[in-house]
C-alpha cells in the first residue's frame, strides 16, 4: 500500500495539471488540440478518482473512474474529432467578448473569489481536510472557466468543449465535497453524451462555411436543398 502522504502529494500534482489544461482550453486557438487537451483533462480526473479510491476505498470512485475513462477520454473526444474533420475547421480565432489573456486574468480572480466564498461557507460544517477543500474550490473554478469558454467562443463546437470542461468541474466538485451515488453520475454521463451528439450535429450547420452548409445539413437530413437561407 502506498502511503497516504504520497497519494495526497500526487493529487496535488494532478490539481496543477487540471489548472493547466483549463488554462490551455481557454487560451488556445487550435481546435484539434483543444479536443486532445480536453481528453487529457478527463484523464487527469480519472487519475484523481483512482487516487481518491486508494485514499478512501469506496468502490463508487472506481466506477466513476471507469465510466469517465470510457465516455470522456475515448468516446466523446473521438466523436468531436471526427466531426471536426468533417467540417474542416482547424482554428477558432473568433472571440465574443473576451480575449484569451483577459479570460486568464479573470479566471485567476475568480479562483480567489471562490476560495474566499467557499471558506466562509464551509466554516460551519465539521472538519474538512485541506485537500478536499482545495478540490471543491478547483471544481467550481473549473466550472466557471468552462463557462467563460462557452460564452466567449463563437464556434458552437468550441462552446461544446467549454461545456464539457464545465461538467468536468462538476465531477471534480462532486468527488471532493461528497460521495454521490453512482447512478447519478452515470445518468449525467448519458445526458452529456446525448447533448454532445445533438449540439455537434447542430453545429455542423452553424460552423461550416455557407457554401457547404446546405450540403452538410442535407447529409445529416436536417435541411432540404431547395431551401435557401442566408
Amino acid at each position: 500500500m502506498i502511503e497516504q502522504v504520497t497519494i495526497e502529494g500526487i493529487i496535488r500534482i494532478l490539481f496543477v495539471c487540471v489548472i493547466i489544461t483549463a488554462a490551455y482550453i481557454i487560451s488556445t486557438r487550435n481546435l484539434l488540440s483543444v479536443v486532445s487537451v480536453y481528453a487529457l483533462q478527463s484523464l487527469t480526473l480519472v487519475c484523481i478518482a483512482l487516487a481518491l479510491y486508494f485514499l478512501e476505498g469506496s468502490v463508487v470512485l472506481l466506477a466513476i473512474a471507469g465510466v469517465t475513462f470510457i465516455s470522456k477520454v475515448i468516446i466523446i473526444p473521438y466523436f468531436i474529432a471526427t466531426i471536426q474533420e468533417k467540417i474542416r475547421i482547424k482554428r477558432d480565432i473568433e472571440f465574443h467578448y473576451l480575449s484569451p489573456t483577459t479570460s486568464l486574468l479573470i479566471s485567476m480572480i475568480l479562483m480567489l473569489v471562490i476560495y474566499m466564498a467557499l471558506s466562509r461557507i464551509v466554516v460551519g460544517s465539521p472538519s474538512r481536510e485541506n485537500l478536499f477543500f482545495f478540490g471543491a474550490v478547483l471544481g467550481i473554478s473549473l466550472m466557471l472557466m468552462g463557462m467563460m469558454v462557452t460564452f466567449s467562443r463563437k464556434r458552437a463546437i468550441t462552446k461544446v468543449l467549454g461545456f464539457l470542461s464545465m461538467e468536468n468541474g462538476v465531477l471534480l466538485f462532486g468527488m471532493f465535497v461528497t460521495e454521490l451515488p453512482f447512478i447519478i453520475e452515470f445518468l449525467i454521463i448519458i445526458d452529456l453524451i446525448i447533448l454532445v451528439i445533438l449540439t455537434t450535429i447542430l453545429s455542423v450547420g452553424i460552423d461550416s462555411t455557407l457554401e457547404d452548409y446546405h450540403k452538410r445539413l442535407h447529409r445529416f437530413h436536417l435541411l432540404d436543398d431547395s431551401e435557401e437561407v442566408i
Binding site: A117, R120, I121, V122, V123, G124, S125, P126, G139, I140, M143, M147, T150, A156, K159, F163, M166, E167, G169, V170, F173, G174, V177, T178, E179, L180, I184, L187, I188, D191, I194, L195, L198, T199, L202, S203, G205, I206, Y213, L217, H221, L222, L223, D224, S226, E227, V229, I230
Partner: protein, 493 residues
C-alpha cells in the same frame, strides 16, 4: 402501476409512429397519447388518495403529491390542445416546405418523448432524477425548435441548449451541496425531496443559501428569469407555434416547479430571510426587462414570449412574499398563465400562417385586414391579450390582484414599481393590437392577399382554452381552489 402506464403508453405511441406512414396517423397517435395521459391524471385526481402510494410510486425515486399532479394535469391538458392544433398547423408547415417530410417522424417522436419526460420530471421524488429529466426536456425541446429548416432556428436552439444546460450544471453543484448537508445532519446523504423537507430545519443557513443560489441559477434559466432569459424570446418566437405553446405553457413550469420545491425546503430553514429578498429583486428585474422589451416589439410571437418572461417574474415575486395566500395565488397564476399563453401562441400561429410570406424573421409583422381574413385568431389575440394583462373576469386578474395585495403588506415601493411595469407591458400589448389590427387595405387591393384556410383543428383548441379560462375565472370552481389549498399545506407554507 400508474408510472408503468405512462411509460407503456409512450413506448406504444413511439412504436406506432415508427410504423405510421402519413402525418395524420402520427398526429392521431400524439393526440391519443396526450388524451390517455390526461385521463390517467384526471383519474388520479378524482379517485386516488393523494399522495399516491402504489408500485414504484412512493419508492425513493418517484412519488405523486398534489403539486406534481397539478403540474402534470396542466401539462397534459396543454399537450392535448397542442396535439390537436398541430394536426392543422404541421400540415401547413409541410405544404409550405418549412418542415421537411423526412423530419416529420423525428418531430413526432420528439413530441411524444417530451410529454413523457415532462410528466416524469414532475413526479420524481429525487432531486437528481428531476434534474436529469429537466435536462432531457431542454434537449428534446431544442430538437423541436431546430427541426424547421432554417438557420435561425438552429441558432435559437443552440443558444437555448447552451444557456439552459450550462446553468443547469450550477443547479447540479447546488444539489451536491444539498446532498452534503443532508449527509452531515442525517448520516446518510439523500436528495429525496420528501426527506429533505422533513429535516430542512437542521440545515446550516450558510450552506443553504449557497445551495439555493446555485440551484436557482439553473432553474431560473429554465424558466426564463433575468438575467438568464436571453434564450427565451428567440426560441419561443422561432419554434413552430404548436411547440411555442408547449414551451411557454409547460416547459417554463418545469423551472418554476423546481424553484417552488427548492424554496419550500429553504422556507423551513432560517436562510429564507436572505433568499426571499433575493427572489423579489430577481422577480422585479425580470418584470422590468420584459416590460421594457415589450414596448418597442413589432413581432407578435416575440411580444407574447416576452410576456411569458414577465409572468415568470410575477411568480417569483409572489413566491418571495411566501405567505400561504400568496403561494396559493402563485399556483393559481401558473395554471392560468399556462392556459392563456398556450391560447395566445395558438392564435399567433394562425396569423403566422396567414401572413407568412411577409413575416421575415425578426422584421415587424405586417398584419392587414385581420378581421376579414382571420376573425377567430384576431379575437383570440384580443381576448387572450386581455386575459394575460389581468383583466376581469379572466383568472389572471384574481391571481395578479391578490399577489399585489399581499405585496402591499410587505413593501409599498415594490408594489408601486410592479404596478408601473405591469401597466407598461399592458400598454405594449394594447399598442401592438391597436396598430396592427386596425390597418385595413384599400378595397381594390383586398384581393391580392390570399386567405389562409384555417383548419378546424387549429380553431378548436383556442376556443376550448378561452372557454376554460372564462369558466375558471367566473366560477372559481371549488375543486380547483381546494386542490391548490392542499398543495399549499403540503408545501408547509
Amino acid at each position: 402501476m400508474i408510472l408503468i402506464a405512462f411509460v407503456l403508453v409512450s413506448v406504444l405511441s413511439l412504436v406506432i409512429i415508427a410504423f405510421a406512414r402519413n402525418h395524420r396517423q402520427m398526429n392521431s397517435v400524439c393526440i391519443g397519447q396526450a388524451l390517455i395521459f390526461t385521463t390517467l391524471t384526471a383519474y388520479l385526481v378524482v379517485f386516488q388518495q393523494v399522495p399516491v402510494v402504489s408500485f414504484l410510486i412512493d419508492s425513493q425515486y418517484f412519488f405523486i403529491d398534489h403539486l406534481g399532479l397539478f403540474e402534470v394535469l396542466i401539462a397534459t391538458l396543454i399537450f392535448t390542445c397542442a396535439a390537436v392544433y398541430a394536426r392543422g398547423y404541421v400540415e401547413g408547415l409541410l405544404k409550405s416546405g418549412e418542415l421537411e417530410k423526412g423530419s416529420l417522424k423525428l418531430f413526432y417522436v420528439a413530441w411524444t418523448l417530451l410529454l413523457l419526460v415532462i410528466v416524469l420530471a414532475f413526479i420524481s421524488d429525487n432531486l437528481a432524477l428531476f434534474w436529469i429529466f429537466a435536462e432531457l426536456t431542454t434537449i428534446i425541446s431544442a430538437m423541436l425548435i431546430a427541426i424547421l429548416s432554417a438557420r435561425e432556428n438552429i441558432d435559437a436552439a443552440i443558444k437555448y441548449i447552451f444557456v439552459a444546460s450550462v446553468s443547469m450544471l450550477f443547479t447540479f453543484a447546488g444539489f451536491i451541496f444539498l446532498f452534503e448537508m443532508s449527509r452531515v445532519s442525517l448520516g446518510t446523504g439523500t436528495l429525496n425531496w420528501t426527506v429533505l423537507m422533513q429535516h430542512a430545519t437542521t440545515f446550516p443557513p450558510g450552506m443553504m443559501i449557497a445551495s439555493f443560489a446555485l440551484v436557482f441559477i439553473g432553474l431560473a434559466a429554465k424558466s426564463g428569469i433575468f438575467p438568464f432569459h436571453t434564450w427565451l424570446p428567440e426560441a419561443h418566437a422561432k419554434a413552430p407555434s404548436a411547440v411555442s405553446a408547449i414551451l411557454s405553457g409547460v416547459l417554463l413550469n418545469v423551472g418554476i416547479y423546481g424553484i417552488i420545491r427548492m424554496y419550500a425546503i429553504t422556507h423551513q430553514s432560517t436562510a429564507v430571510v436572505t433568499i426571499a429578498p433575493m427572489l423579489t429583486v430577481f422577480g422585479v428585474l425580470t418584470i422590468g426587462i420584459a416590460a421594457l422589451s415589450m414596448l418597442p416589439q413589432k413581432n407578435l410571437k416575440k411580444l407574447v414570449a416576452f410576456s411569458s418572461v414577465e409572468n415568470m417574474g410575477i411568480l417569483l415575486v409572489g413566491l418571495a412574499i411566501s405567505t400561504p395566500v400568496s403561494v396559493f395565488w402563485v399556483l393559481f397564476h401558473i395554471m392560468a398563465h399556462s392556459f392563456t399563453k398556450a391560447s395566445l401562441f395558438f392564435s399567433s400561429g394562425i396569423l403566422h400562417r396567414q401572413y407568412r410570406s411577409r413575416f421575415v424573421s425578426d422584421a415587424a409583422d405586417e398584419i392587414k385586414d385581420v378581421f376579414r381574413l382571420q376573425p377567430l385568431a384576431a379575437w383570440g389575440i384580443i381576448l387572450g391579450g386581455l386575459a394575460i394583462i389581468g383583466m376581469p373576469p379572466f383568472p389572471l386578474f384574481f391571481s395578479e390582484f391578490f399577489i399585489l395585495l399581499q405585496l402591499g403588506t410587505v413593501s409599498l415601493w415594490v408594489l408601486a414599481a410592479m404596478l408601473l411595469l405591469l401597466f407598461i407591458s399592458a400598454v405594449a400589448l394594447g399598442y401592438f393590437v391597436l396598430m396592427n389590427f386596425t390597418s385595413v387595405s384599400e378595397p381594390e387591393a383586398q384581393t391580392d392577399i390570399e386567405q389562409y384556410r384555417t383548419p378546424a383543428s387549429m380553431k378548436v383548441p383556442i376556443i376550448f382554452l378561452l372557454v376554460l379560462l372564462l369558466v375558471i375565472g367566473i366560477f372559481l370552481p371549488s375543486g380547483i381552489t381546494g386542490f391548490i389549498n392542499q398543495i399549499v399545506t403540503e408545501l408547509n407554507f
